[in-house]
């Protein structure tokens, strides 16, 4: 059995549950919101044993039936009222710690790699794993920002908050003084298409997205999706990042440049992979469940 820990309203968790049903993989969901609100638990960190209850679901550890855990243990503390933040944040932290102390494969509990919370630092980590980065500027200086910006410059978030990347235009440049109080991140837009690769343990599935979108996740423009193989050197650098981060399930974003080379943008430690998986015929979930110890027999179905 695979234990899923996450929000029952999270599209990725709902997708994983549905995929498990299609595949005949047994799962149990520990609802994150119920745990944060009034869940109960008891944990001995020395032995890695204890129990967690969220709503009507109570799970004992160790449980020989649980072969692996897919935990999208999102910290919701910044989404709740100020007086509830400390309680939510400490429960998120203790839950991640409880799950990390278990002797079964656990994915998406990011304990060692926190680099994704600061993109420029994250880029430096990726460079050390062998990835060259596109030309990027972090600055609060209007003069520096103006001199860097050309008609092929995008602005994106510095932190891990989900933001929509946009092309810098005259309107944005007229507001550049606002950057003085908080630096902004600009990047030279490279390439002709986007690539998203999901790595799970030793397996990966990559998809190329061809469109005119600045940010294909949000822009409503025609898109062509096709599955692709990654070059061996890119796979090798991806594996170097996985080793460095200790994270066995990552979603890595690239752009393909005009010469056909892949240029990395970022690695997502808790990928929302459901859209890609639907187009891939559930291959990513299949690899994920395989990594988490689902019986091979349960994965012999063929998605229609």
């Amino acid at each position: 059995m695979i234990l899923l820990v996450g929000l029952s309203s999270d599209a990725t968790i709902r997708h994983a549950l549905l995929a498990a049903h299609v595949m005949g993989v047994e799962t149990t969901l520990l609802d994150l919101l119920e745990f944060y609100k009034d869940g109960t638990f008891s944990w001995n960190f020395a032995s890695g044993t204890g129990w967690i209850r969220a709503g009507a679901t109570r799970v004992e550890f160790p449980d020989s039936l649980i072969t692996g855990i897919y935990a999208r243990a999102i910290d919701l503390s910044s989404e709740v009222e100020p007086e509830q933040r400390a309680a939510y944040s400490s429960r998120a932290s203790i839950l991640r710690r409880m799950l990390s102390s278990l002797d079964v494969p656990v994915v998406s509990v990011t304990s060692d790699d926190v680099s994704n919370i600061a993109k420029p630092y994250h880029m430096r980590v990726l460079q050390r794993c062998g990835f060259p980065m596109p030309e990027t500027l972090l600055s609060n200086s209007p003069d520096v920002i103006l001199s860097f910006t050309d008609d092929n410059t995008i602005c994106k978030g510095v932190s891990s908050d989900k933001t929509k990347a946009f092309m810098m235009t005259g309107d944005d440049l007229s507001r550049v003084e606002e950057a003085q109080k908080c630096p902004i991140l600009l990047q030279r837009r490279v390439g002709v298409s986007d690539i998203r690769a999901h790595f799970v343990g030793d397996e990966y599935y990559a998809e190329e997205i061809v469109s005119d979108a600045i940010d294909y996740r949000f822009d409503d423009v025609p898109k062509v999706f096709r599955s692709i193989e990654l070059p061996a050197d890119v796979v090798s650098s991806c594996r170097a990042y996985m080793r460095w981060s200790g994270n066995q399930f990552v979603g890595i974003d690239f752009r393909r440049d005009a010469d056909g080379n892949l240029v990395i943008l970022e690695a997502n430690p808790m990928p929302g992979y459901h859209g890609y998986d639907k187009r891939a015929g559930l291959k990513i979930t299949e690899a994920l469940f395989r990594y988490l110890g689902a019986a091979p027999a349960a994965l012999t179905y063929r998605a229609s």
Binding site: T40, A118, K119, R124, V144
Partner: protein, 283 residues
């Protein structure tokens, strides 16, 4: 800014009310050492570029431009992270903090790297191997926590309420005043030994355990070596347990001056020495 220019330019990042920065700045001024105190991004210009396999950082303070290796920085938690009430304020706070993390990971001589505050207490303690850490539990059920403590041979339970972060020491047959859930360490006693560490230097601040000041200092040096992997150079370490088997109970990575009592002057001077270290002399 005053006139004397050291080999590296010391910069202080944080709120003007921060007692550590006030003390350091006042000593630097008294010694005539040129330095800058930066409260927010409006006080300096950042030009941080990443391209290919390299990066370059330039910081301009009052018309003087420095590369990352030309400055040293003492960074306090008040820099880059702001209180927020609205979603917009939260976004700005996260963006500012992310920029601070990135900037200070590029500067070789930094005391108080913002990234080091992103690691959990458990992760920080795990880096202090081979120094032992205490047995720990967490629970919403007090009776189960007390049973764990009893089985661990503890005489009392040091409890932190997970909602309020309030701490108290509770006897095995007692009950905390906070509602819980709690994280707890199972302690052999209420005696503690405390040391401050800055790079290779350590100083015993208290030795209630009675293991000897030299032993506390050595333990602190050993425990802190692994912390450098996550950029922690300056911290206070609190040891509990017994004189025979001291355990590292807590690492405080942003200590306040009042923790040092009469020894603050010595710590203050060490901080200044570390800030004036040239990059090439950093281990």
């Amino acid at each position: 800014m005053s006139s004397k220019t050291p080999e590296v330019f010391p910069t202080l990042f944080g709120d003007k009310t921060d007692p550590v920065l006030r003390s350091i700045s006042s000593t630097l001024m008294r010694r005539g050492v040129d330095h800058a105190w930066i409260e927010g991004y409006a006080d300096f210009e950042l030009d941080y570029r990443v391209s290919g396999l390299s990066s370059e950082v330039k910081v301009t303070i009052a018309d003087r431009t420095f590369s990352a290796g030309d400055i040293s920085a003492l960074v306090r938690p008040s820099f880059g992270r702001k209180r927020f009430d609205s979603r917009d304020e939260k976004f700005v706070s996260n963006e500012s903090f992310a920029a601070a993390i990135s900037l200070f990971e590029e500067v070789p001589n930094v005391i108080g790297r913002p990234l080091s505050t992103c690691y959990s207490a458990a992760r920080i303690l795990s880096l202090c191997h081979p120094v032992r850490t205490p047995l720990e539990g967490a629970s919403s059920e007090w009776e189960e926590l007390a049973a764990m403590a009893s089985a661990a041979g503890a005489r009392e339970i040091h409890v932190e309420d997970l909602a309020s972060y309030r701490r108290e020491v509770v006897p095995l047959d007692g009950r905390p005043t906070s509602p819980g859930p709690w994280r707890a360490i199972f302690a052999a006693g209420t005696m503690y030994s405390v040391a401050v560490v800055l790079d290779d230097w350590a100083l015993c601040l208290a030795d209630e355990l009675g293991v000897g000041e030299a032993s506390v200092t050595e333990l602190a040096k050993t425990a802190s070596r692994g912390l450098r992997r996550v950029g922690v150079r300056f911290c206070v370490l609190i040891f509990g347990g017994t004189p025979e088997e001291p355990v590292l109970a807590q690492v405080i990575t942003s200590p306040e001056p009042q923790m040092f009592g009469s020894k603050w002057t010595e710590v203050n001077d060490r901080l200044i020495e570390a800030l004036l270290l040239e990059t090439r002399n950093l281990s």
